[in-house]
Symmetry: C2
Subunit: 242 residues, 2 copies
Amino acid sequence: MRSENGPGGQPDEGTGGPGSGKAAPEPERSLIEKVRRAQIIEAAIEVIAERGFAKASMAQIAQRAGVSKGVISYHFAGKNELIERTVEQVYEALGSFVQSRLAGQTGAAAWLRVYIGSIAAHMADHRSQLAALGEIFTHFRTDDGELRYGIASSEPLYAHVEDVFRAGQRSGELRAFDARVMAVSLQAAIDHMFAYWSTHPEHDLAAHARELVDLFWHATRAQHPDDDRADGGPDDHHPALS
Amino acid sequence: MRSENGPGGQPDEGTGGPGSGKAAPEPERSLIEKVRRAQIIEAAIEVIAERGFAKASMAQIAQRAGVSKGVISYHFAGKNELIERTVEQVYEALGSFVQSRLAGQTGAAAWLRVYIGSIAAHMADHRSQLAALGEIFTHFRTDDGELRYGIASSEPLYAHVEDVFRAGQRSGELRAFDARVMAVSLQAAIDHMFAYWSTHPEHDLAAHARELVDLFWHATRAQHPDDDRADGGPDDHHPALS
DNA sequence: CCATTTTCTGACCGCATGGCCAGAAATTTA
DNA sequence: TAAATTTCTGGCCATGCGGTCAGAAAATGG
């Protein structure tokens, strides 16, 4: 089934989530190969972000990249591989950034503040990547019709956030609540923060992120009737947005 | 530009949100007309929910409805009108249900409980409608490429929820926070509750909804250090989900 | 400098889409 | 019943899609 000429990609990469494979064999690539792949992925991000997934055809992406359509087929096994490599690249960049910011932080309060803040900070500098990711997650489907990156592929993320909440509950820092629902709702609030920002570019993303920290801190912290400002609450102001 | 035979619809309906038009002139329709339109809309909901917006072609919808493709073109001005009528129908059913449940409720605590609970209850009984709405909101675009029902069309909803929060703040029932961010986050949490439920059908939707009430009650209520269980908090249990 | 390999082009293929329409069928009206 | 109108069918069209291909162009290397 593979193209007979051209390097293509590794077509059968499996079913894991976006960053699921550190087991990628990474075949050697010539210089041109690496440059072209990066160039095409960048073009794909721009076109998807600007025109939406459905309108982001191979022809559009090729035109944006300044090459002919066949080049994409030459350097990638097909559109599916192009999209998957694009997701991997964006997702890994975000993940490693957040992880580096999170390193060394202890306690649920600090974790909340740094987690939300660093995601917002990184995405504020990568708007196209953000928009493209959103389009891909909601539109890209496998051959059998299921969303390629659906809720199911967020499972590792949910599980991790859930663990953080559970640890906070065990330590007494957080109240009793359903950690899975809280994790899903936190991701939801972050997602929609970006969606709202995308259509209201003048909206203050950093301030929104701080409000979100505040929201989830109030929602999760254990009750300390008196010292509600002495227990390391992550934030302390309520600026009026917009 | 209009079809020369057949009733079609009213093509130039404007740009308002889903339920924006109570000014719909509702032209007289024959019995067959009404039956066919309902039948086709129902088929559209099923196909979109099951196969996704992109795969929901006129041919697919016609086949599901048990009629030939041309019938849709005869009764609707085009695919766009079919989708818009579908959204209106689903959205208005939900809206009137929630509004009836909300009537007579006073206080932010009761409002939160009834608002979240009634949306969840109604949607639990209309899974296909819910899935179809989600697909349409994220995929359906106007001719110029913009999402037909984007964040912008949720503005009236956001504004209303915002008002409820502001009233609660003025009455002293709720703490100081950014009402817009809270409104966006509440809608986000509700949206994702359904998304999560869609891919985890065994998930307990009602319990999730109760957790959400709890979450936003803790996030928004004013601090009453001692009587945090005596001030009419909407919910009082933390069942472990899943 | 020429042979070999890598890279690229632009035309082409089969397919699915939304919309269109001539005419058939069914229903209503006179 | 006969004419008029409404409703329906199924095939057709132009368009755009992802993917393929023969051969041109460029890079490589002996």
